[in-house]
Chain length 342, copies 2
């Protein structure tokens, strides 16, 4: 059974059958159902070549998912994927996800493009001088970067949040509240967003003549446990911090527990600001002491990137190629004036 | 540029070039690099038909990801995906993920199979009398179900944990500790795992002449906020529960906060057991009062299912078609005897 035979069986054109199989909106629901029923009954499996003949595209977006023994799954990845999914579902697009050891991401990206299975590529977990950008520029496949690299020309399509500005704003507020001793619970040190958040923090402190001590900076994956252990360590220093910045509410969860365990009162003895990706499973406003946050929705970013990629593939609208989203600094109860004498 | 021309350019057979592009281990690293470099330089994009010619397969596993406005991203989905990825990466398999409204999962599964983009399908989020199982049985594409449906013959390939047994064990322990008033914080009521966990709880209580009151059962998505709100509500009942079962550590996070806020001491005034999927971002042993749990690693389940699917496709080993994993009941500080007089 090939496409021609299936079409003859149904009394439809090959184009209509292909479009039905690819979920095109031009095909009405009844016809699509007939085609799908016939596919099931006949066991017909269209090949990609036939699909492409009708559509000229694969109908998919490619992603590389970093994975390896010892690499913890990233709750932020799932949230972003949900956003991509929201938009992709509207246009009957799917994803091709290639798991890859982080050290082999360039080769995996290249292979994903070479496979012909994707119309566009989505790149994330940007590093300094990230080699994937130069590689993608040599190919014809459209791509959007989530985040931005550092140390390479910023002439590629991206969507990023203003990480430097977010942590500058947060650190400045804490300095204005009289804090002089800061700590930073950050993401992995090789990722560009971590580097920018540290830079924003250092810059705001420098303006007040303050420094961020290296023994008050922790880089790690963003889990509850890392937040707890780092905060425990900071509190044992001779001059412990009174102001803490966290790159994720998940890190903050552990940090707050260490603060409670030490008998300190959040927002009184010690202030904390976390970056909030608007993860539905953990809301900063619901913490026992609601958290002051810099906020930007990861799901909204996923939706926007999917929309930009799909709009480009289908040529249905022209959207900006570079977007830098500002974050909101939302003050809640976890921040207050520096305790007297500290 | 087609496969033939590319092969001639490289002085390799078409089969070798195709295998290099599909990541076959038979092709040595140097040859693969030459092929990939040539692909990049020439802009060659192989079509699926050519790949299949060489390999006879798509090299991919299909998944449907439920998504819609108002549906929260599921942290458990990301963790499972990480497990699938671990195993897939070893065999150069990728995933094709089709986002779908939950009401359209049958049609989406069918379309994913019909697309010819996947060699096997992975099914999850099983419901009672789940229609996807009967549909998959009419097709030739191999599949493995994560979980099991209810009310249909169990004659399909699955990997499930013993949800009934896990919650039976947990409820029995609490009853043995003298608890008489129970609450259950469960997942969505239409999912089979939730139904089984409730059944296990009810069965253990019945053996002690106890009942699970309907106003002490909450079904919801498994977020911190839902755990908090439900626990708040339970504690306002005329006879509040002294024993609480939670279907996720994420639910437990909110429940514990409500317990603390009410001034109750966990493990003394009220006991709690949570199911632990071994999510790296939130470990039950790190809670202020470490949680007693029923434990089974979601990532390990993902690895196993990927291995079973890939072993079947590549015919490299014969693995069992049905697996029911027992959970461990691990006692920590969140459980204790029922408070006197309650």
């Amino acid at each position: 059974m090939n496409l021609k035979q299936l079409s003859q069986l149904l009394g439809l054109s090959q184009t209509t059958v292909s479009r039905a199989l690819n979920g095109y909106p031009e095909v009405n629901a009844e016809t699509r159902q007939r085609v799908l029923d016939a596919v099931r009954e006949t066991g017909y499996r269209p090949n990609r070549a036939a699909q492409r003949l009708a559509t000229g595209r694969a109908g998919s977006i490619g992603l590389v998912m970093p994975t390896a023994d010892g690499i913890e799954s990233d709750v932020h990845f799932g949230e972003f994927l949900a956003g991509l999914g929201d938009e992709a579902a509207k246009h009957d697009f799917h994803f091709v996800i290639n798991p890859s050891h982080p050290d082999e991401e360039v080769a995996t990206c290249r292979r994903l493009v070479a496979s012909g299975n994707v119309d566009a590529l989505f790149l994330a977990y940007m590093r300094e001088k990230d080699p994937r950008i130069a590689m993608m520029k040599t190919l014809k496949t459209p791509f959007v970067v989530h985040g931005r690299s550092i140390g390479v020309p910023t002439d590629y399509p991206f969507l990023d949040i203003d990480n430097t500005g977010a942590f500058y704003d947060a650190a400045r507020l804490l300095a204005q509240l009289g804090h002089r001793h800061f700590a930073l619970l950050n993401g992995p040190d090789y990722l560009a967003f971590s580097i920018r958040r540290k830079k924003g923090t250092v810059r705001a402190l420098a303006e007040q003549g303050l420094v961020l001590r290296e023994d008050c900076v922790q880089h790690s994956q963003m889990t509850d446990e890392h937040g707890f252990r780092a905060m425990e360590r900071f509190l044992q220093l001779d001059t412990p911090p009174t102001a803490v910045l966290c790159s994720s509410t998940v890190l903050a969860l552990g940090a707050v527990r260490a603060i409670n365990q030490a008998g300190l009162k959040l927002g009184v003895d010690i202030s904390l600001i976390a970056h909030d990706d608007v993860l539905p499973m953990l809301k900063p406003e619901n913490f026992m002491v609601p958290l002051t946050t810099t906020r930007s929705s990861l799901r909204a970013a996923g939706q926007r990137i999917a929309r930009r990629l799909i709009a480009g593939i289908l040529q249905i609208e022209t959207l900006p190629q570079q977007e830098l989203w500002k974050t909101d600094l939302i003050v809640r109860a976890s921040t207050g004036p520096a305790p007297a004498g500290k």
